[in-house]
């Protein structure tokens, strides 16, 4: 196979890697945010229940959950498409981790600001939406970047359910060309490129919403 052919195959794989990463990251964001908000607004009972769910999810190996969903659920009549299986495994586990990042960020908010909002007559929901969440999002950026990176690095598991992402393409190429060092080094560089791309996007958003002196207080 020509160099251009190899490159094209790897770039196709990179597209799938990006798709899996973004789909799982979006799932993680929705799950993490949902858990954080439910813990804030729900009572002690709901908070305890969600803590237990988060505890379990953080302890389950990602591949095991993926196999349960993709290979196990068809046994009870539920066929889950590969990308959805990734979202329900990697996305869910990552969401559990993100919910902890959000919990820490919420705890960093000055309680007097919350008290001030409540003393003006804002409801708990309005206080959460207007005061807590905008600050939480800014505090959580470093943790979110870490989690996004983790999602990217776990995305190769998608090959186990048949998604032709970079690692799967690379394995196929190595099998036909026997040029393992070059091809695996090349996909290492591609992963790094995708990481830098995602980081640049996050930094752009961070800069857009930065507030003078906010993090220095």
């Amino acid at each position: 196979m020509s160099f251009a052919g190899i490159l094209l195959t790897l770039l196709q794989g990179a597209g799938y890697t990006l798709l899996v990463t973004l789909a799982c990251a979006a799932t993680a964001l929705v799950v993490g945010l949902g858990i954080a908000i439910a813990r804030e607004l729900g009572g002690a009972w709901l908070s305890t229940l969600l803590s237990a769910v988060v505890y379990v999810l953080r302890g389950v190996p990602m591949l095991v959950l993926l196999f349960i969903i993709f290979f196990g659920l068809p046994g009870v009549g539920l066929d889950v498409p590969p990308l959805l299986a990734m979202m329900l495994s990697l996305g869910l586990i990552s969401g559990a981790y993100l919910s902890e990042v959000f919990r820490g960020s919420l705890a960093a908010i000055n309680p007097n600001e919350v008290l001030a909002a409540q003393s003006m007559g804002f409801s708990r929901l309005a206080t959460l939406r207007l005061i807590k969440l905008p600050q939480m999002a800014r505090f959580a950026v470093p943790g979110m970047v870490n989690e996004l990176t983790t999602v990217l690095k776990f995305s190769p598991f998608a090959y186990t359910v048949g998604i032709p992402e970079i690692t799967k393409q690379a394995m196929a190429l190595v099998a036909t060309t026997m040029r393992g060092i070059e091809i695996y080094a090349a996909i290492g560089l591609l992963y790094f490129g995708i990481y830098r791309l995602l980081l640049a996007a996050v930094r752009l958003i961070e800069k857009r919403y930065s507030i003078p002196g906010f993090a220095q207080e």
Binding site: N110, L115, S119, M120, G121, L130, I211, E217
Partner: protein
């Protein structure tokens, strides 16, 4: 009829009683200071009055309405009481203008332009209009307190509560804030202020409610309190001043 009438207010926790039958009145246009040793229940009293803390028993009549009875719209009550906190409690992620305009837009439902005009008016009153686009991190303590007062006044409250408004400030800024609150007092703004600061109490108050161990120990004009002879509780608190 008094604007605020507190009758036999009690706040108890499982292991202690913080407020033990507190009663006093606040007339419209009056400025009253609540003083007393640390832990005597001053801040708890303020927070009970706008139901940030639920009182255990007693009655609070505000503007003729019993606000302790079940079914009272607590958020509506709070929107009629301005509250200025010890450490300003400005929203760090919002500009000065947004800090003041937020409640006008979201609670009073004013259009953005009208809310901002009103916010700028209050900032002018506090001599802070030139800082409208600044963020709280860039403000001094005195400036932050001015914005906090503007934020409370913007809602056109019936009464303004101050919780230790000068305790987080250096002496120069204390003078600045005392002058400011004194101006509000002279403008007939109804004020209830919790403070340790004798200077502030002398400048802004008609009468002082002196709390000790959760009870009203004395209520009098500040000069009369200071002139009391051989009162160990008052003497210990004021340390022989006056």
């Amino acid at each position: 009829m008094a604007l605020l009438e507190v009758k036999n207010l009690v706040k108890s926790y499982t292991d202690r009683t913080v407020l033990d039958g507190v009663s006093f009145e606040l007339e419209e246009g009056e400025a009253k200071v609540v003083m007393g040793p640390s832990g005597c229940g001053k801040s708890t009293l303020l927070r009970c009055l706008n139901r940030l803390i639920e009182p255990t028993s007693g009655t609070i009549l505000f503007d003729g309405q019993d606000v302790t009875r079940p079914g009272v719209d607590v958020r509506e009550l709070r929107s009629r009481i301005g509250f200025v906190f010890q450490n300003f409690a400005l929203y760090r992620h919002m500009s000065v203008l947004d800090n003041v305009a937020l409640a006008l837009r979201r609670l009073k439902k004013l259009p953005r332009k009208e809310a901002e005009e009103r916010a700028v008016h209050e900032l002018h009153r506090m001599e802070m209009a030139d800082k409208r686009d600044a963020y709280p991190a860039a403000l001094s303590g005195g400036q932050s307190q001015r914005v906090a007062i503007a934020r409370a006044l913007a809602m056109d409250p019936k009464v303004l509560f101050f919780d230790e408004p000068t305790s987080a400030l250096d002496p120069i800024m204390v003078r600045e804030v005392v002058t400011l609150i004194n101006r509000l007092y002279l403008d007939n703004v109804t004020i209830l202020c919790v403070t340790h600061d004798l200077g502030l109490a002398k400048h802004i108050s008609d009468r002082v409610v002196f709390l000790d161990r959760g009870k009203v120990y004395a209520e009098d004009r500040i000069e009369h309190l200071l002139a009391r002879d051989a009162d160990p509780v008052i003497d210990e608190f004021f340390g022989g001043e006056g």
